[in-house]
Symmetry: C3
Subunit: 667 residues, 3 copies
Amino acid sequence: MMNERLQVGVVYYPEQWDSAKWEADVKRMKEAGVTVVRLAEFAWCRMEPAPGQYALEWLDEVIDLFAKHDIAVILCTPTNTPPRWLTDQHPDVLPIHANGATNHAGVRGHRCLNSHSLKHYAAAIINQLASRYGKHPAVIGWQIDNEFGMQDCHCPQCNASFRQWLIDKYETISQLNEQWGTIVWSGEYSDWQQVTVPYGGSRFQNPSYLLDFTRFQWDTTESFLTEQIKLIRQYSKQQFITHNFHTYPQRLNLHQLGRVLDVASFDYYPNTAPHKQATGSYSGALALDVTRGIKRKNFYIMEQLSGAPGCWFPTWRAPYPGFIRAFAWQAIAKGADKVLHFRWRSAAAGAEQFWQGLIDPSDVPGRRFQEFSQFAQEVNRLSPKLINTTFQHQAAILISHENMEAMRIQHQSNGFDYYENIKDYHRALTKLGIGCDVIEVGALLDQYKLVIAPSLYVLDAETANRLEQFAHAGGTVLTTFRSGVKLINNQHIQAMLPGYLQQSSGIYVEEYDAIGQDVVHIRDEAGETYTCSAWCDIVSLQGAEAIAWYEDEFYSGTAAVTCNRVGNGKVYYAATHPEERYLRKLLTRLAEEQHIAYHAGLPAGVQIIERFNDSNKYLFILNLSREKVVIPLDHPGYSLLNEAAREAELELAPYQLDIIEVPLKNV
Amino acid sequence: MMNERLQVGVVYYPEQWDSAKWEADVKRMKEAGVTVVRLAEFAWCRMEPAPGQYALEWLDEVIDLFAKHDIAVILCTPTNTPPRWLTDQHPDVLPIHANGATNHAGVRGHRCLNSHSLKHYAAAIINQLASRYGKHPAVIGWQIDNEFGMQDCHCPQCNASFRQWLIDKYETISQLNEQWGTIVWSGEYSDWQQVTVPYGGSRFQNPSYLLDFTRFQWDTTESFLTEQIKLIRQYSKQQFITHNFHTYPQRLNLHQLGRVLDVASFDYYPNTAPHKQATGSYSGALALDVTRGIKRKNFYIMEQLSGAPGCWFPTWRAPYPGFIRAFAWQAIAKGADKVLHFRWRSAAAGAEQFWQGLIDPSDVPGRRFQEFSQFAQEVNRLSPKLINTTFQHQAAILISHENMEAMRIQHQSNGFDYYENIKDYHRALTKLGIGCDVIEVGALLDQYKLVIAPSLYVLDAETANRLEQFAHAGGTVLTTFRSGVKLINNQHIQAMLPGYLQQSSGIYVEEYDAIGQDVVHIRDEAGETYTCSAWCDIVSLQGAEAIAWYEDEFYSGTAAVTCNRVGNGKVYYAATHPEERYLRKLLTRLAEEQHIAYHAGLPAGVQIIERFNDSNKYLFILNLSREKVVIPLDHPGYSLLNEAAREAELELAPYQLDIIEVPLKNV
Amino acid sequence: MMNERLQVGVVYYPEQWDSAKWEADVKRMKEAGVTVVRLAEFAWCRMEPAPGQYALEWLDEVIDLFAKHDIAVILCTPTNTPPRWLTDQHPDVLPIHANGATNHAGVRGHRCLNSHSLKHYAAAIINQLASRYGKHPAVIGWQIDNEFGMQDCHCPQCNASFRQWLIDKYETISQLNEQWGTIVWSGEYSDWQQVTVPYGGSRFQNPSYLLDFTRFQWDTTESFLTEQIKLIRQYSKQQFITHNFHTYPQRLNLHQLGRVLDVASFDYYPNTAPHKQATGSYSGALALDVTRGIKRKNFYIMEQLSGAPGCWFPTWRAPYPGFIRAFAWQAIAKGADKVLHFRWRSAAAGAEQFWQGLIDPSDVPGRRFQEFSQFAQEVNRLSPKLINTTFQHQAAILISHENMEAMRIQHQSNGFDYYENIKDYHRALTKLGIGCDVIEVGALLDQYKLVIAPSLYVLDAETANRLEQFAHAGGTVLTTFRSGVKLINNQHIQAMLPGYLQQSSGIYVEEYDAIGQDVVHIRDEAGETYTCSAWCDIVSLQGAEAIAWYEDEFYSGTAAVTCNRVGNGKVYYAATHPEERYLRKLLTRLAEEQHIAYHAGLPAGVQIIERFNDSNKYLFILNLSREKVVIPLDHPGYSLLNEAAREAELELAPYQLDIIEVPLKNV
């Protein structure tokens, strides 16, 4: 399923509008440059108005209309929103919260993925859809359900399924007791019947138990996804199958779910608030890198910002002129091969009325539509140049959903947040113009020179060894405090920290000070001082050397950042979380040591993404700020977007961008 | 039921005190100047100690005691607090919250207005009361229940009643689906049994559904009220029937309920906190104008501040000397023909112990009692002068409970609040000394020159036409952003905003920026700048002219406030919510254009209310501040309160007031 | 059960560790100086793995191991954590919250003290333990359950028990109606079946009812405790029985529960945060004085800080060097005759993993262990000198759990907190170096010269008389606003405030201003001004004289603090809550009048505690701060800790202390 072209499109809900509008809509899409649409996400009640009564003629009509105008279609399985008759006749479809309350119908996501009734009716409608459209030439792929999340369902079926999952995993109740350490607080189980989902939802339950309940939910979601994929694959061989993840950090295990998908998708809503300008575009860059990391290949955007989101939170600020187009281009630059804007026209009914589409309910196109249209036509024009160009990143950041969940279950210190810390490291890299991949802890690292692995909290020996070998072979590893703390069963390691990383890091942690939101200072070798927060390990050097020292507290003068030579490489350990200014300085050092190119003085908000083919480098240079900027260019090139040569420097107005083709022979 | 005199009185709960105290209490009331009391509000358990066993002799005795001392009695129907035996034997009386929890007995308001058991026992006790006291010469009127509010009851009976209400309204399930737009998120109903009250209470349910649930509750309350009125009217023809509303903004539809009452009442507790001094008295003025607007005539205060409220919130600050009397006079000035202070003596038992009455549980009168006594005697003295004097307001503010609820269901932007915005406009008018009526959107406007109608969010064509005709005939209309957004069914209009007001306003809204609590500046024709907040419409002038412009953001230089000539009048449109300083400037302009008199430099906290009879104007001049003030007088007059002539200016100590009679021939 | 020596030890959970570790642990304890351990607190599931199947051999082995190394053992009854089989087979063990939700198993404290099933199985296991260990020579005492708290259980058994408790107390339903004042809001009961626990948990229920529900819970806890004591006493005559209270203020009635214990215990976790430095050590001093006041004799610390607590709140800051030892010595100084650190080794499993013990899960001892070891050995060395030395305090602070609960049920003003106010008075005394006892309101006062009794809110005539007699006989009483407000039934007194204290205080309260967190100023006789907060009584002098006056508000110039001569003594009344600087000034005056010695200029964070025997005074001088301090000494003495003479002054490094023996003949 190699991509033949970049595609831009929209999410369209024909069922929400008078059918008399359909053809005019499709024609206007075509004129705007749309080449793909997503359909039928929440249309179950129209596709099956009563149990077993299918009514798909309207959908045939819509798909044929798109086919007629040569616009490709992505269809959705409608399981996110079971119809009223289903929840009414089979209330076991509805999830039950930890407090026993029913997750009533009427919003979205009101279905338990373990419900037999749901699975039965889901299979039936998917069979209908897949058999009818599985070979339809206009239908290029499928989106399963919508924006999976952790349901935390406590219904009787989940209770039974969780128990069975535990029996399969542990076989004996004594093995479960041992792995969970239930002796604490007299919690030993003497019978499987005593084991339940965590009713009541107390966060003070046994953390080994809670982490297993998380893993159970991950497996539940994977199984639900896999079942749908199997049903579609009965009829469809060529169409891709994806799922649209949303809102990172995501409690679900993206990497686990990604393994059963053909391609990962993301719903990308960069924050429009002026006060988010300093960080928002970098958080977006991370989200796109995370998405690309799910399958370590390019991905799709199933929903791209089209205006100000609103509805169940205060309406966002209006996107600044250029904002919509610039962030859509950012997605392409980061590896999105399809970008579908959400949504064609803002809803005129229902709870999502103020989530802006490209066009208002008045149906009069305005500024948002013009930006989209420009973007679509640019992409269509440049697609042949850009499709299948590749990334050649030398740096990677490691991320782990097990770590994220384990530290959510047992919060480490006030103000400490695993994903926020990753954001800080990623932003520092991005400001240095160093592209990176964001991949799963435990993944193969062969292609990289530098690996950043913050807080490897739940860690097994194999992963620790892999990192040590990577360093031994000449790589640089940077890890931090709260690494090696937990065994896979979420019990505390009975060893000095950082546990399995003691030898490779060349230090051990004597004690720690969970400073939280208090501030402690560090000093580097140049004598400059920086603030740090969240946590301070107090370390003993066991072969490593210090490259920064605490300036405050009773551990003033001891090592805050260390470096240990391991074979041909190095392992750095940040015992605390320094401010971004220090992270940039540290990462500059690491880049220089590994001969990784970087940009020393990129203006705030500017991001550079490099893509390659055999003969050229493609520089995406994005000004994601409200200020005009000037960026020096290392090599002359040709602006694909503006069809003109570019020499020593590039001036970009607010939210403008350029794409420079640089022949590799010039570099 | 023309008022023959102004009356001042108290709320009295004889059942809470030893009957040996009753006569002394009544005598002390008489001496203080009391002419009316309210009785029996929460006395059901004493009036009917067991099902069908009535015990009203004690109430006879109390009423006779008041009659003996020539003090009029207002009786209450006791339905706010069903007795223990009723909720014990008929638990269906108790409301059920959205989360399924029972609203247990023990506080107040623990009754579902749709409960058959409640209605049955309510009818029985009201029959008893009405038949016994319906023609009692001392009993002048009735208060139904106490402080109705939105119960949001989700009991089985409410569920059934709501469904029937919908069947009556929509007749077919397909009509309901269409009007609610349930196709969104696959929410179409295929059977009436699927339609329920909004279990779970999610605010993200369909907004058309939620607004209908609100309307259902309004109708429920109206029906409960009407039923009680009918029961009383079987026996009583002359006694007035009222209800005491409380705490604005009120989610109930005051105008709808007011239609079945003889007179509206309000429970008035102006905030005593020093930090509320700058706004509190103006919010109070609005509340009184809102109450007068319910029936567009004078009203009663069933509960007037007597000291510091407390109990279920931290006790308020002690009222400053003069505060109690000044705000009681404010109520009279604004149209209260009866003012009953809550309460005679602070409770010595129960949860309301720290809500101060006029006298402490010690029964030793102090400062609060003295102020009340002075007030009562002043009113008694001036009643012949003041009774039946009228307002002659040339300005009106339009308010709508449909708008309020619809914007509560779908919050528009962070910091945007419909009622708070109305407060700002009303305060600006009050500071200019421009009296106004606050009336229902859709009301007749013939008597006004200036109509201020903020955020006409839910709007039908008829109301829009009425405003346009008002302008055409020479009036001035001022409306604002978020007008014309919604159809009556709470779906978004499929037209450019402000929808039905496009033509009369001479603009359309190209897009909007929901700035929330961010700040944007505007500049007026004089070049002065002001802040604004909440929302910025970006408008296209289609005949209107701009009179203020944005100074910030990408729409800098575009119109922020516009004026459109319509026939002999004008329609102004404020595309944003400017600070009060600008509102005063704008309203000054509008007043001058319409030749409405205003006061340019009233000191902070001073309010002037004008009342008229055939020969005189009566100026109530209130200093509702902690500072001494001097107010210039336009015309000489005679101080009714101080029985002395008043010439060029008036000096008022903190929380003092004057009432000046000015012969119309002098004006 | 006279104490023969001071003991230092640890809390140990052998069942949580591989038994191969036990002997090494015990030997390391022995070397560190441990003489006592606490065992088996949460080990029910190991002691009785199935109903009626007891397995205590492992515990025998552990106890024998300690016996072998001459370490005494304190055993716990395990009722805080019922095993899974018990809650599974008898769900009535689980408490029910006010909202009807079950308090599920899996954390701790998941047992209703009124549950028959719990009582049955508790009796059985305690019989087993007491019969087996009641005469074991190594077992010196018992801890009942763990950290009792208010369960607020609403299960059917609690409902039935509460009703019976009320029948026993009031006999007739009319008596209950009268005492609770249920007539308010029509709440009169006509049948006992209508009376329930406060379902729904509304804080706006009748306060007399809610205070009785609190008392019922106190009696429930006392009864549960008494029953366990009886069971143990069947087998054990010499072993002490205690309970470990925690986290003051404590909603349970410590004095009531203390009456059935041999000795009170406290779990002492002084806050390690730098920003708590200014107040934390003083709050700790109060907690220790409160604990000593429970039985008016020395006490034990069952859990003493060993590192940074964490787990269900963000991890605390690391204890500063010296912190752990200094606060352990503070406990000894204040009367703790045994101090057990919690816990030997941090948990490696379960929800308490990050609550630091003395040693990390790595089992490598570090700084925390060294401090503990130093402390243990110091105590062992000095025990013969210090054991059974006594306090000779001339001042007392009166505290009442009835007041605390009654003011929690009806919060008096924003920012007003009964226990926080007591903290302020106690801190002022401590900063003046004036030792005091903190005893129950109503206790005998013969030994004191000065009694401080803030906010005697619920007050009976007998207590008021006792205070008056104390003053009459020459004592000084200092009481405050919100005294004499309530009768014992939590109804408001029908008299001028301060009610029963009117005559002795020589004032009455005309009115009050609940200023909350607003600030009002007062001026003293020297003309100095101070801030005050929370509340301002406006008082009329009826024999008392003012010694401070308000400077603000309409009551400026009236008395803020008064003094009334009563016989040979005086009653002071603080009508407001002044800042600590004023409290120190006022208490200095009172100390001088009563010839109580005080220290005028103690550095911040320094605490002095005096203990006596027949021939010597022992001064514990603690520097509980991060600064070096110098403290002048009144008399030369001998440093027991450093074995050296001490003359005019003492220098103490951060978190260091000294113990000076001063022969009484030198004083």
